[in-house]
């Protein structure tokens, strides 16, 4: 990847190279064919115990997507975060409920950024193979997404720690083979690897608005060894900083999904405007609607640039503050555009857009969920301001 320097600022490459274009088109085909949005309805109405398709997850592993960004030494493909974002965008188009965010964005990133080589060896190959799922719990009731405001505590015992507390909105906790949780210990925020089947761990799944899968993880005097600290006991004071970086990557990866989602919702809406006839004219011939569609198109174009730049920055910058800036930018611009698109998509579809049997409504549910997840726009604008020194 080349960095062209202009005006003292590196210019990020914001277009896809040939391999990435191929990856994108394969992913798009796969998702269009195997993952229609209507699945969400079926999974919901069948009260599916897992809430996503294991078979599809295995297929994605075989296509190499789950190990795309994992290092080759752990059986990964060794590509960049940008490449992962290319796949996530396509998965986002169809609002896939598979454990992408939990396992690839939270779990794998935490292990890669903070794990010891033993921890990485223990988990990364299984993740890439589609055999292991990982969840990460950082939010608590009343903490409003701020990990530092959580109340979960780790208390040192002779051989390790006892964890007590409750994490909410933990994506895919109900199926995870490993749950990473943040906990206050000795005035630090540590990250701990918890076995979901350990005594004292209880997991209550709920049905989320956007039909991704999440639950509450309650830890009651859960005993873990020293090797359960992410990065080892010596890295205990590093947890907060690793978590920050993990969340920034989650913001960017989620923004890539949102980008795909808004593009699909917009495309569906424009097609509807072209086809639907009212007052003896296609709806899309009404200028007031044309202008609104054109404005959405403009917002999406700007969001796309922010998201691609952020994903590229993960690969190119060694400065976590730089990644954090782009993460805030990508998430805010994507959230704003996605919500607008999803809202207008329903309005422009009219009554049919309000019915459960039509797919377009699922995009609004996802849009609201992503708006709140991993930092609201208000919080991320404040973070951007702070990182830029004001």
């Amino acid at each position: 990847m080349s960095v062209v320097v202009s005006n003292g600022q590196p210019t990020l490459t914001l277009v896809l190279d040939e391999e990435q274009q191929m990856l994108r088109s394969t992913a798009r085909q796969f998702v269009d064919q195997h993952a229609p949005v209507g699945r969400l309805r079926t999974l919901r109405d069948a009260r599916d115990p897992r809430g996503f398709s294991d078979a599809l997850w295995k297929d994605m592993a075989e296509l190499g997507w789950l190990g795309l960004q994992l290092p080759e030494e752990h059986d990964g493909v060794g590509l960049g975060f940008f490449d992962l974002a290319v796949v996530l965008e396509q998965c986002g188009r169809r609002l896939m409920p598979e454990p992408l965010v939990s396992t690839l964005l939270l779990g794998a990133q935490a292990l890669m950024l903070g794990g010891t080589s033993e921890q990485q060896a223990a988990w990364l190959p299984g993740i890439g193979a589609g055999e292991k799922l990982v969840a990460l719990g950082f939010d608590e009731r009343g903490a409003r997404g701020n990990p530092a405001a959580g109340k979960t505590r780790a208390v040192r015992t002779g051989s390790g720690f006892t964890l007590t507390g409750s994490k909410v909105g933990v994506l895919d906790a109900h199926v995870a083979d490993l749950i990473i949780v943040s906990a206050h210990v000795d005035g630090q925020l540590g990250l701990f690897l918890v076995d979901p089947s350990a005594p004292g761990v209880s997991i209550t799944r709920h049905v989320a608005l956007d039909l991704r899968n999440a639950g509450t993880v309650t830890l009651t005097d859960v005993l873990v060894g020293e090797d359960a600290v992410l990065g080892g006991v010596s890295g205990l004071d590093n947890g907060g900083s690793v978590l920050d970086q993990v969340l920034d990557r989650a913001r960017i990866g989620l923004a890539a999904e949102m980008l795909g989602a808004m593009e699909q919702a917009f495309e569906d809406t424009v097609n509807y405007l072209k086809e639907r006839v009212q007052f003896d004219r296609p709806l899309g011939s009404f200028q007031a609607l044309q202008h609104r569609a054109a404005r959405l198109y403009t917002s999406i174009a700007l969001a796309r640039s922010a998201v691609l730049a952020a994903a590229r920055t993960v690969d190119q910058s060694s400065d976590p503050r730089e990644v954090a800036k782009f993460a805030a930018l990508a998430k805010v611009r994507a959230s704003e555009a996605f919500y607008d698109v999803a809202r207008e998509a329903i309005q422009l579809h009219g009554g049919i857009g309000m019915t459960d049997e039509h797919d377009i409504g699922f995009y609004l549910k996802r849009a609201q969920t992503t708006l709140v997840s991993f930092g609201t726009n208000d919080a991320l604008r404040a973070r951007w301001a702070e990182l830029n020194g004001y």
């Binding site: 209550t204 049905v207 608005l209 009212q278 019915t355 969920t369």
Partner: protein, 409 residues
Amino acid sequence: MSEPSQQSESAELREFRAEMRAFMREEAPKSLLGTSPCGPFDGYWGGKLHPPVDPDVLRWRDVTLARGLTAPTWPKAYGGAGLSYAHAKVFYDEMRELGLPRPVVGFGFAMIGPTLLQFGNEEQKLQHLPAICAGEIRWCQGYSEPNAGSDLANVQLACEPDGPDHFILNGQKVWTSHADRSDWIFCLARTDRSAKKQRGITFILVDMRTEGVTPRKIELISGASPFCETFFENVRVPRSNVVGEVNAGWTVAKALLGHERSMIGQSIGRDPGSTQRELVKLARKHLDAAEGPIPDPLLRDRVAAVSMEEAAFQLTLDRLAQSRAAGGPGTESSIMKIAATELKQRRFETGMALAGAQGLGWEGDAFDEEDLAYTREWLRSRANTIEGGSSEVQLNIIAKQVLGLPEVK
């Protein structure tokens, strides 16, 4: 916009107010006091299919019906009390003061009743209006069709003569709220396919028990809903059920739409300050701030902005009602429809911002019932700018009818 002298009217109204107050204190069932905001849709919907569980509801209906007060402004001959709008307002004010529900509510009062008063013949008025007043018959609306959308005049429900005294209906209506709980439906039907779109439409009343009428419930993105699709398969209807002339139903239909818009505006604005109270309550709950300023200045600003929007909206409802009462123009139902529905949407969006992650549940113990319900209501609010004449249609109406902007040639 001349306004009658307030002085003289007040005296008479004050007397009427005292009378109503006394009536309610004496006759209204105690169990109903303080139970209702007295909006046009808060109360007993009437009809044969779902009689009320609470006998006090029927008692309240009976005592008001005896005085014509279930439809205070309708003529006495049809079961009303023949009151002026100003008197009716006093009556509703007093009920609201006591938290009493309207005795009977529904589309009979808000839509088809006023329309029959204007366009029905004497037989139709006598057949239907007293039954509405008594809450015997519940009505639903058969306007929208699957292929019409906002283009309401694009009516396809086939209505063909069957002998000299009947029509046969075939086709489908959609968004027929509460069709599964209604006794009668008022429909737009196509009686002439050769005429210009607005011309060949007939306004016709159909008994839902007629053979061939089948309602089916519609699920919305927010879950269960009162909406139905209603199918018509060889439904035989007497010609005497036509309101107005055959092929001249569009005029009747438009008048009814005006009643519907006003009703939507009023029903949303019925409880002044409720939006502010709701949002402040949500802020206190979710931001864990029992008193004092809402701790997040950006959210506080948003709550204040929506609350101000509510106040301005509420005052506009009052202003237009006063203007109408004074004989001024009452043509502003379109702006109130837009303002009311967008206020509601912003209210729920702000509430969802306050709820944060607690607004992201669909089902499950991680969320309390109130939060789950709020999320559903937020989703439901998206329909407000579509149903009852979309915002786009209202903006067209304002542009052309109020501002006089030219049509495309």
